[in-house]
Symmetry: C2
Subunit: 253 residues, 2 copies
């Protein structure tokens, strides 16, 4: 882990958009013919990253824009003294590096939580695309708004909930996103998230995260292990964490 090396080269393989793995996802509404062909023209290639590799470096001025074809990434922010805050987890269909499309330097880093395959778009053509294809641009805004909604949920969790509530909140959030994107089934998400990562996401210490997880496991609410996150009863977990709304369908690039 923490290999540091920024490999993730653009590979020769190039899945044609009509075979895009995202087409099979429940939670996504597929683009129409014309859209697809334009996306295909916009696409620069694909890139693969191994678990733990950096996809984007905080502070850098990114030149690419990505869509996740498969895998899970995480976005985080580092502070000078070494503390870090994980901002969000990113699933297939999510857009990576929107900020970078607006020429500012990246305020966060992105790394692969598990092996991932990304679809690459050249940043400099983003503006061009937005101008020539308002419909796609609109969808991008939609995605941005949805990401914003996620962050709001996280904010509510950090601001208003205690450790155990935060943990169940995050478990439900992840399992839910996993189910939408075909990564999870039956309330079980097979994904390796270390307790350290959870702690950095929820603003808790590692030790307290550990103890709270154990409490939730004993209570039968959330079973978060090294290799998977399981929420046996989503409804009661939602009730425990005071969660309400379920998310809606979305378009994708």
């Amino acid at each position: 882990m923490a290999t540091g090396g920024n490999s993730g080269r653009i590979g020769a393989e190039r899945t044609p958009c009509r075979l895009c793995p995202l087409l099979g996802c429940e939670g996504l509404s597929p683009p129409d013919e014309t859209q697809r062909s334009w996306i295909e023209a916009f696409k620069a290639g694909e890139a693969s990253y191994a678990r733990g590799e950096q996809v984007m470096q905080q502070g850098a001025r990114a030149t690419r824009l990505y869509t996740i074809l498969e895998g899970v990434l995480l976005r985080f922010r580092l502070l000078e003294d070494g503390r870090r805050q994980i901002l969000n987890f990113m699933f297939p269909g999510d857009l990576v590096g929107l900020q970078s499309a607006f020429d500012a330097e990246l305020a966060h880093g992105v790394e692969a939580l598990i092996d991932a395959r990304l679809c690459v778009f050249p940043r400099e053509r983003f503006f061009e695309l937005a101008m020539s294809h308002p419909r796609l641009s609109f969808d991008v805004t939609w995605l941005a708004a949805r990401e914003e909604a996620s962050l709001e949920e996280h904010l509510v969790a950090l601001g208003q909930r205690n450790a155990r509530e935060r943990l169940t909140y995050l478990a439900v959030y992840l399992v839910q996103r996993g189910m939408e994107t075909g990564v999870a089934r039956n309330g079980v998400l097979r994904l390796t998230v270390t307790q350290g990562q959870v702690a950095d996401m929820l603003g808790l210490s590692l030790v307290h995260t550990n103890r709270s997880m154990q409490a939730l496991r004993r209570a039968g609410l959330v079973d978060w292990t090294m290799t998977s996150i399981a929420v046996p009863d989503l409804e009661s977990a939602r009730a425990f964490a005071q969660m309400e709304s379920e998310p809606s369908k979305r378009p994708y690039i």
Copy 2:
């Protein structure tokens, strides 16, 4: 306060866009001729809200989209048991109700922190605008990305900082935004934000918020009173709260 009544009627007054008060703002880059005329055509009128009035109701399905001409709003999220999380403060030039543009029901409420005047756009024509004026649509995406960046900052604050750091963070954030939008000068923002509101934003108890404020006042870092927020030395305050980047300029609607 908490007048409850949702007045805020669309008034007869209608500032022509070429006299828009936002044109005077340092932090905003003005639209060109064609853009302005299209915005003007899109505009449905203006609405005024008194301090404490609800602009948008959580759970409702909003029919309007707003831009703030003057005043400050706050966006919040209520939980069933009465807890509330303030998500963000909104300043002149900000877009209110973007989420509602995507037909989902509002996950947050919006209320006027001080008397405010808003520019009203009909929600149902938003899509139409996006399709016919990609440039403006692009700017909206820009705004959404910028709001997202704010939320990320808040998230870092709640997740990684202690009470006093959070308070100075918020003070700096507010004063900075105030200066960009012409509401603040010289590190002083004349704005009534109650300690209860601060507590609800930062995820702290009212009592602890109070004591931490006093500590910061004694330390000379932040002087947060009933009527204003003052940060004598922005740089040392930033250093204390471990803040780094300054925000960039932005377009507006």
